[in-house]
Symmetry: C2
Subunit: 377 residues, 2 copies
Amino acid sequence: MKKLLTLAVAALMCAGSASAQELANFNFGGRKQIVSPEIQGDSVTFRLNANYATVVNLYGSWLPGYGDKIEMQKGLDGVWEAKIALPEPEIYTYNFIVDGVSVNDPQNYMVQRDGTRYLNMLLVPGARTDAYKETAHRGTLAYKWYDSNILGINRRLTVYTPYGYEANPGKKYPVLYLLHGAGGDEEAWSSMGRAAQILDNLIEQGKAEPMIVVMPNGNPNQQAAQTMGLPTSDMDWRNPENRNSYVRSLCEEIVPFIEKNFRVIAKPEKRAIAGLSMGGGHTISASIMYPKLFDYICPLSAAGAATVEQLQALKKEGVKLYWVGCGKTDFLWEGNQKLIQSLKDAGLEHTFYVSEGGHIWANWRLYLQTFAPLLFK
Amino acid sequence: MKKLLTLAVAALMCAGSASAQELANFNFGGRKQIVSPEIQGDSVTFRLNANYATVVNLYGSWLPGYGDKIEMQKGLDGVWEAKIALPEPEIYTYNFIVDGVSVNDPQNYMVQRDGTRYLNMLLVPGARTDAYKETAHRGTLAYKWYDSNILGINRRLTVYTPYGYEANPGKKYPVLYLLHGAGGDEEAWSSMGRAAQILDNLIEQGKAEPMIVVMPNGNPNQQAAQTMGLPTSDMDWRNPENRNSYVRSLCEEIVPFIEKNFRVIAKPEKRAIAGLSMGGGHTISASIMYPKLFDYICPLSAAGAATVEQLQALKKEGVKLYWVGCGKTDFLWEGNQKLIQSLKDAGLEHTFYVSEGGHIWANWRLYLQTFAPLLFK
């Protein structure tokens, strides 16, 4: 046995050249000469080997303003560096701009797709980010397809089932429908939102009910993210009627699909809906168009509005939780103020959770951690 | 309703600035000025806006030799271009090197992670690539966790269940264990390998038996790819004993885990194992260490070997298919020749499928399409 495996290893080790694509991943050839990003005490250093570059800038989501950047300094060895004070614990995204060209950090393979863009990730560890980390008991993420007759296409959605779902075949679960924003897709909440890790942690600590989380694709013109063979619909997602059709598909097709294929408690008091930005608009629309469907409604940094009459009609059907989250510097702050005023005028009991910062994933992860423990209680 | 949605849309459309991260994905600000890659007739053009760059090279997996590149030409508008003859239909990866710095194509959001590297994808359509495209009936991809006492960690694996798995609760399925190579992980076959699409197509066309495909993580020191909170084991994957431990975990822990949690036919004649490169070594090892477990054995561009005695012992237990695939220019060609000779000397009936090219995903996708129809018949 040992001999056989030694042979195998030998074959691997001698394979630095040729078309040994996969082996390039072991950084034979010294891609590990520099470390980036490097956290040391209360600072973090970013490095990029770009000997022929003239200007290298660092863009990071911890910087307050849109377009803010840090100018990196070139060392004699051709390695550009930027050493900054460690931002507070959180997951941040960053990238380099080398003479005007966007570059990912070749030393950091933690990358996330934000719609059409790829950004490196920086995890600053701390109490805040423990909630994003893998815990001992982990649920399952599944990518499933459902037929939408309303949109006329077969579409993909992501489903989180909590730890123990398979081991307890008799148990039925409540469901949270968790919607992404404009530019996102069915992978946004599970990647940038860390939804699976956040739920795993809350459930393991007994802070949240074990629940199924459904993360659909909110772009009515899209069957799924990053497919290669699917015809792109020419349906314009900006058209209100099409957005309307998506909300109908969510409530009339996705909810029944989930309740048919998973062990769920199919009652309003065991259904929650939450969404960010455009998905907050979808959340508001769904709750108004289908007032009997969801007892828990959480618009986050929502791009949406509702009239007092609509909210009064919703109130009549019974609402267990109406939870609005928004950041003080969010560009949608004013719209959210209007929503709160309408809720007051409608006499619909609600929570307005105000955070620092703006229209960023750090807030949406925080909101999920904050409202999830309030669901289905 | 319409009014409400119009408001929502208005809120979105006015949001070009501030920290509207997600909205940047709509390329407000003209990221769509140029198109890349652009397929026109029998050519494809790559473009990169890099006005201040001195040398821009294009690296692509269609180029025959390791390190082969195409020099791009700069236009007056600062856009670098390379127009090349369209390679034959296949999925290729490419990236730009701008003054020595690796850059992904900002116009092409089709990107795949190959271990620690991110590479753009180019799909050249044709009969060859139809097999990679989403078809009408699609299976489910699920990321599940299993406990490995042998490796002392909780680990993630990817499971494909075919279309109809949920709709036919009485039906049991055969299982293919599909192993990645060195530098890969539990996401390699489902992303670069297009395993789900290939199986969806073969099954829909009646060419392959509906089957479950299990894609584990073959790095014994790794719990899963791209986790943020999991401690990295200091176990050296190159150590033969550790590789040995992984093969034991595969056969003594993963197989029982799958047979407990999915509706499978738990018999040797309904179990297949296949793997590429290092995973081909794992495939050979597993078949020798557990000769009663798998009746279908497919080492692909394998980094592994077996003695005549080991293969004779395997033959005694009964083998329905021993299918070896390798490319003519693969750096492991010689080792595969040795394997074939040992199979001959052992009198173990086998197929040696020889393809053009080397140690590349185009071959591994081709091999999967070729041997999958032979399984469980």
